[in-house]
């Protein structure tokens, strides 16, 4: 008790260092980021298992088994690998944001402590999105050694577009966590399994992960449909950055300029919508 009396509650505001609000807000933002780091570090093995179990089997079945029994062409693995990198990053980013947010806004309200911190409320959403993107980028990166191990000779990544590759991995994480924010703020806890099926499954299969976009030209309506899924741009952008040239020609993908523009537009749009619903949920 004596400790406390000497620190004194009466002198309140004394602890409030300086009056620069931007600095105060940044301090709060980074403290929240540190909090997420602490929690993720503690559950790192769980996080990796959760993020990598599915791609592990995808790589094995689609990259090794199907070509091995003659049901897929030999370069299928090289075309699918970028899709797996995109999907893994996107899902890991989404999972890091959506599920905790649904529970928090639904009943746990653990987020209240952060909402009461001296920073603009939408920064709390921003922190979640940036941290989620980082989780996504980590999960994406782990696919490379994993693919190398599983695919063996089938593992092929071109080495001359590394800057694009890094940029695409980051953008994929961001679009995943921005979608995660939107989903996390619109899904109610009692709808969680239904909404996952309704939103997740179509997202997964219309995102050009297991097939290149160009190959869909014979199923035109589906080709157009896939353009509404941000995952398509993530997959195609990564395919552009990773797929080795075929007989001296670049593998055909959606143009990288369009990919980058539309992916960025998706990120901004999803984040704006997600922040709007987030604010509606936390301030009435």
């Amino acid at each position: 008790m004596s400790d406390l009396t000497s620190t004194g509650l009466a002198g309140a505001a004394r602890l409030h260092r300086g009056d620069n609000r931007t600095i105060t807000a940044l301090q709060a933002f980074f403290a929240m980021f540190r909090r997420d780091l602490t929690v993720t570090r503690r559950e790192f093995v769980q996080f990796l298992l959760q993020a990598l179990m599915q791609p592990l089997f995808f790589l094995f079945i689609f990259g090794k088994v199907l070509p091995g029994i003659g049901l897929a062409a030999g370069n299928f693995a090289a075309l699918m690998l970028p899709g797996i990198v995109a999907l893994t990053g996107m899902i890991a980013a989404m999972q890091g944001v959506t599920l905790p947010l649904v529970l928090d806004l639904g009943f746990a309200r653990e987020i209240d402590d952060r909402l009461l911190s001296p920073l603009p409320v939408w920064w709390v959403a921003l922190e979640k999105v940036i941290f989620g993107a980082m989780r996504g980028a980590i999960a994406s990166s782990v696919i490379f050694p994993l693919g190398w191990l599983i695919l063996g000779n089938g593992f092929a990544v071109r080495g001359d577009r590394i800057p694009y590759l890094i940029g695409m991995v980051l953008l994929t994480g961001l679009v995943g966590s921005a979608i995660g924010l939107l989903m996390g703020t619109i899904i109610k806890p009692d709808q969680i399994s239904l909404m996952f099926t309704l939103l997740f499954t179509p997202l997964l299969f219309t995102g050009c992960t297991y097939y290149p976009w160009g190959a869909l030209r014979n199923i035109r309506w589906f080709q157009i449909l896939t353009l509404f899924n941000p995952l398509t741009y993530a997959s195609e952008g990564l395919r552009y950055s990773m797929a080795p040239p075929v007989q001296g020609h670049d593998f055909p993908t959606i143009s990288i300029a369009w990919t980058l523009i539309l992916l960025s537009v998706s990120i901004v749009a999803m984040f704006a919508l997600g922040t709007r619903t987030f604010l509606r949920r936390v301030i009435t």
Binding site: T7, L9, H16, R17, A28, A31, R34, T38, D112
Partner: protein
């Protein structure tokens, strides 16, 4: 003193100032908070009382920037809650009704991260956390997660967390709800202590005893409005006459005729200030049968009314089952002001 505070000129001297506050939720038919004004002086413990749904939690929500007022204004330490919510957050701390502790963190981290969100330096926050954990009897279990904490421990931890950034105003929303008597006493002790160190406290409760023990001033709310705002002692004087005679009786039938006759007869007795008769079938006496009546006779000296009132009951054809005289308590004031019906 209360009157000085509520005259509206003391805004910059108040820890909390609320003026004509209205909150109407979209789709709602009535205002959740309907024109509320009050002031809390620095260093005061102020109680907000009222039945469930009276508007207490909404009022706290506005003061803690989670709810945007529809009309009127509110300020904390002269900072307007709607115009500068971030400024307000630097001054306040909130202990909610239900635990919202961060279950992914260890107990001590809950405190240190909270302080970090508020920009408290590492050295200060670690010292503060250890001090508070020891003070609140949580020092031995500071490296656990909160999953295994009891309700009382979670409550204490939330109080510790609230104090980590040294707020000027503390909001306690039904702090001792669901606590065992030991935890309750412990918490009351802590609340008084925090207040003695200069912290302004606004607490909501429907425990009259708690309000009576802790609060310097109490506002009773119902249907979004403040009915009275005064010291506990002054509030008790509001019971007409000051004492209450409570009679449980059974009428031969459930028809309203007996009730009306009885009401008139009791009101006519000399020394009666107010008579209230409710049907005993609802509420706690549901087993009493169809003709059960709860009668409350308010008067200056309710004990002098025992004989004549019993006689009046008897003459109306009903039978007295039990009878008691109550000294004024806040509970009586509360029931007198807000009525007996269930919410």
């Amino acid at each position: 003193m209360p009157d000085e505070l509520s005259n509206g000129n003391s805004l910059e001297h108040s820890a909390i100032a609320v003026r004509g506050l209205v909150k109407r939720y979209s789709k709602a038919k009535v205002n959740a908070v309907d024109g509320v004004s009050f002031d809390v002086a620095p260093g005061e413990i102020f109680g907000l009382l009222g039945p469930n749904g009276a508007g207490k939690t909404t009022t706290i929500g506005v003061l803690t920037t989670a709810i945007v007022p529809t009309e009127g204004s509110a300020s904390i330490m002269a900072v307007d809650v709607a115009r500068d919510p971030i400024g307000v957050k630097r001054h306040i701390a909130v202990v909610p009704q239900q635990s919202n502790l961060d279950r992914s963190l260890k107990v001590r981290e809950i405190l240190t991260f909270h302080a970090a969100y508020h920009g408290v330096s590492r050295k200060t926050r670690e010292a503060l956390a250890d001090g508070l954990l020891a003070e609140l009897g949580l020092g031995e279990r500071k490296n656990e997660k909160v999953n295994r904490y009891s309700g009382g421990m979670a409550q204490r931890l939330m109080i510790a967390r609230a104090l980590m950034h040294e707020p000027s105003v503390l909001f306690l929303d039904e702090p001792t709800n669901n606590l065992d008597p030991q935890s309750r006493l412990f918490l009351w002790e802590r609340i008084r202590e925090m207040n003695a160190r200069g912290l302004t406290i606004l607490l909501t409760t429907h425990d009259m005893d708690e309000a009576d023990r802790l609060c310097g001033r109490i506002a009773v709310m119902d249907h979004g409005k403040i009915l009275v705002n005064d010291t506990p002692a002054e509030l008790k004087k509001r019971i007409p006459g000051g004492t209450v005679l409570e009679i449980h009786a059974v009428a031969p039938s459930a028809d309203g005729g007996v009730r009306e006759t009885l009401h008139a007869a009791l009101e006519a007795l000399p020394g009666t200030a107010k008579v209230e008769i409710t049907n005993g079938n609802s509420g706690p006496d549901a087993s009493a049968g169809p003709g059960a009546l709860n009668i409350r006779v308010y008067g200056v000296a309710a004990n002098a009314l025992i004989g004549p009132a019993a006689q009046a009951v008897f003459s109306s054809g009903a039978q007295v089952r039990d009878l008691s005289v109550k000294q004024p308590s806040l509970e009586e004031v509360f029931i007198f002001l807000t009525g007996r019906h269930l919410r």
